[in-house]
Amino acid sequence: MDNDIINADYTAGGKRLNPLRSGIDRLAGAIRLTDALQSNALASTARMIVLGLAFLAGVLAWSSGILPEILSLKDDVLYLLNQHLFMVAVSGGLALLVGLPLGILLSRPYMLKYAEALMQILNVGTTVPTLAILALSMSVLGIGTVPAIFGLFVATLLPIVRNAYAGCQAVAPHLIESATGMGMTPGQILRRVEIPNALFVMFAGIRTAFAINVGTVPLAFLIGAGGLGELIFQGIALNNFGMMLAGALPVALLAVLVDFVLSQAQFWLVPKGVNPLR
């Protein structure tokens, strides 16, 4: 286990979290921190910078003749984007459907024995590079959309399970005692006390998971599942800058957008009393 001083970086988001963590989890901490920084003034400054950069890039692209090239690939982009989003939605959705209940289940007292051991394994699992996960998935399931979605599902699942578990574990025991003492059933305690109080940490896991997911989907092309990665990898292979950018720009935008949407969801869905951002 890490030393307490090391955990200091964890408190950055305003709340102290679970002791179970490794690299990717810290990334979640990072993303959480950025939320804390999303004051209005800052957001507008950052937006101005991004817009300025986008404008400059646009001018550059037009003058170098790349932009028309990108635009000529519009149909391909839309078709591949469709595939791309499908993979994100299915693998991410499945990971949520499986991961959240699994994490919560593991946090039940009667699962404690297995949970700690499993978390150690998940910690190691999250250090495995995503390209390796996809490659291993392909070596077992062959090529195509199914192995790609399976690999993505596994990579996305781990942070979701871990944070759902850690979030529930971190709910103060006296809250549970209070809830029990006033006559809540276990189900009511879970719905009214545990989940709302764990939600912020759960969301951090979901954001990390989707950052990994969206970052890995372009690699799915490599195992024959299409998506926008096709344009990037083909562009690299053919040394075709227009094609590269036609893939890379939407992929980058999608990643930023997904994280933005999730950060907003986190901001608004996590109850005010337990949301360090509000």
Partner: protein, 372 residues
Amino acid sequence: MIRLEDLTKIFQTPSGDITAADRINMDVPEGNICVLLGPSGCGKTTTMKMVNRLIEPTSGKIFIGGEDVTSKDPISLRRSIGYVIQQIGLFPNQTIEDNICAVPDLLGWDRKKSRTRAGELLEMVALDPATFLGRFPKELSGGQQQRVGVIRALAADPPVMLMDEPFGAIDPINREVIQDEFLRMQKEIKKTIMFVSHDIDEAVKMADKIAIFDAGQLIQYDSPDDLLAHPKNSFIADFVGGDRTLKRLRLIRVEDAMTKDPPRVTADDTLDKAVNLMEEHGHISIVMVGPKGRARGVVYLSDARGKKGKVGDSHDKLPVSVHVGEDLRTAVSSMFMHDEASLACVDSDGIYKGYVTQRGITHLLGATYRDQ
């Protein structure tokens, strides 16, 4: 109201069985505050938590209002019992309003009504509903949170409340304030309360009855005064402290200890009359009252003897008096402070009601020992 019959809890641990509560028998009368007191690990908390079945008894029975609740559904049992813990346990994800309405909501009560009641309850503990209803627990101070914790337990108007060191986490000054506030409230609501504490002073202050536990056994169950006056064994005597008789001063009100209808003089009386009255009663001083009976001054025997004239011309200022509603501790403290052997007792209008003397107090406290 709450009756425990042979209530026993045995915890099975790897290092053997531990009897946390051993055949506890007690009866808390309706409207009483019963403080369960004892060192940590004595079984007081275990006993209390068996009442709302947070801990399942190994054997024995619990009756609430005559009903055996040992076999009742624990969920509905708990909803009918108020529960306050030291860590307060307000749900940080909910507003103060929703926190207070937690049990009414569980019971499916009309939401509007329970929200109105939440506001009324806040006013009872002197928190402005307009300010606090919409706030979240983290926006309240510790003392405010503790008040909300108490009224949350009262929200569904349960006849019985369990309180587990409810004021333990509050600083000493605020604790006194909240205790007084709670006692005032209890006068109106008259709940039957089981209250766990490890603080003898708190117990003496709050309790109608005190149950002292040690090593899983109920050692003594008595009124605070009896407990302080007649500790059953050396454990209790040690636990309540060597100054236990001084603690009893707190339990007795001036009104109950004073000598009523005392002799008095008015400004128009002669000093002769004053001297005669004092000698007749064996006093060394006498209080002079005004026309309506307010205590106005004092005449000392040593000064008045052999003098002629009116009391009104040669009285001294009354050095100090005590309100009849205060406890004897305050009275004794005043006497020591002003080096007086007796103290005039007055009501809220300043009317002279009686007097207490150091000798009289000593006598009163000693009476219970002489009877034996």
